[in-house]
Amino acid sequence: MRTTGGPRTPRLSIPGWSTWLDRPGFLATLLLVPTVVLVFGVLLYPILDTLRLSLTDRVLSIPASGAFVGLANYLRALQDPEFRAALGRTFYFALVTVPVETTLGLLIALLLDQRFVGRGFVRGIIILPWAMPYIVNGVMWKWILNANYGALNALLQQVGLIDHYRIWLGYPSTAFNFVILANIWKETPVAVILLLAALQTIPRELYEAARVDGANAWRRFRAVTFPNLRPVIAVTMVVKTVWALKEFDLIYVMTGGGPANATNVATFYTYLTTFKFLKFGYGAAMAFIIVLLSLVIAFFYVRLIAPREVAE
């Protein structure tokens, strides 16, 4: 029995398990186990194994394959004109979609920040394209662009812009740009939502102050809006660039990499090499080249978003 006063500390009277549980290090370990097992098991192990595979000549259909070949696959991929062309298409895809979606997203966000009747409704439906499954998005646009019965052909002909139906996805020059259009439709809302959320955190007093100083709308945008949005714009662009490097679903559904390889981007070419031609070692090297590109961007991403968190 204690003779001095003060509150009793029941924790001290229950030794064993619960005391252990109160040690931050032990508790942290315990709490992290499920996540670490799942994420490392299902994500990090495969990444390391892909790295290992990429250094071998493994071909799934040849049981005896799998010998260590060093960096041969990487050198081969970087010299492969098909893969280089595919990487070029991936960069084109990113260089068009990222600026267009960010600019369009900013314009729509600024619009939805104004006061108008039905604003809640419009802000509400803007999320629809984001929520649509990628595959349905692809099927939907493929149907709209259909050469025989597509809505785009019907619309353009009925307003007199074309005199006969076009095979939009049948020509290398138009096919890729229509895939890009489908991507812009689906991905722009993410930029709108992120930028609209950021717009709403800008203190209204800043605008009032700028107005008192006689700044017109453009100057208010330059002096107040844009500087406040800049970090979010930067993050949006980096995230979108990484997504663009990953694009696969739309290509698979809308064009299957064609016509004449016009939409055969790097991930799609990697998929074909690996799962169609079963060159697992070579495909793994291509996958890793895409990852290295993503990691360069990821590095900036992490630095932009979480300099404090990660520095801990």
Binding site: L31, V42, D49, Y134, Y252, Y271
Partner: protein, 280 residues
Amino acid sequence: MLGRALLYLAVIAVVVWVLAPFAWLVISSVSTRAALTSKPLQWLPAHLDVSNYIDIFVGGGSSTSVHRSVRAGALNSVIVAGLATLTSLLAGSLSAYAVSRLRFRLKGAFLATMLATQLLPTVVIIIPMYIVFRSIGLLDTVFALMLADIAIILPLITWILKGYFDGIPSSLEDAARVDGCTRAGALFRVVIPLSSSGLAASGLFAFIIAWNEFFTAFILSSTLRSKTLSVIVAEFSSKVGVDYVAMATAGVLTSLPPVLLALFFQRYIIQGLTAGAVKG
């Protein structure tokens, strides 16, 4: 006055741009094949034909293999996305608490890893995943698809929930601990109940992402045992002589769960989206 007119014109343009493509998919799903293939195109069907919806939901005599595939795919999608979300919420709330409240070594590395996983193209993890699942006989099972989904959404859930836990003052836990609660007890009795909106936001967000996942399901599944709706719709659309009305119906049904969840629980989704992509 002119400014207002231009504003409304722009708003109408945005509304049409967002709604028209999806509206056309919905209209196509309740049209007849004859109406869809008429020239000039008949934009609105003379009468609604919901027979594809009925065949999918009710089955019966006129239901074809397409309708059966959609039914099987819907069940697989619900199981895969649902279980992946629940498992990830369970594991994610524990690890998010650890990251938010406790000091431990390698915390920075753990967080950076969680963030970096979001940027990996799936193509880099799918090759070994395929080989492993193939060697242990798990190819073409909902379990394999679920594990692949967890790999994608668990880091995201951890990241989003950490943000919510950071926002709950630790004085509340301290009070509970003075009353004799252990740290773990405080997590379950104080922090988790207070983060219900965080759990809802990250759960809904993760469910939509899992539901929409295509690439892993496409590689790992091969029969109706595990094919999800996205896989079935993709396959269906690439067939020659496809039935456009049935294809549109399958597309609408595949979109409805994520679209309705996103529209009804918009506040949560936006929280998840901003926390998941732009933390800080």
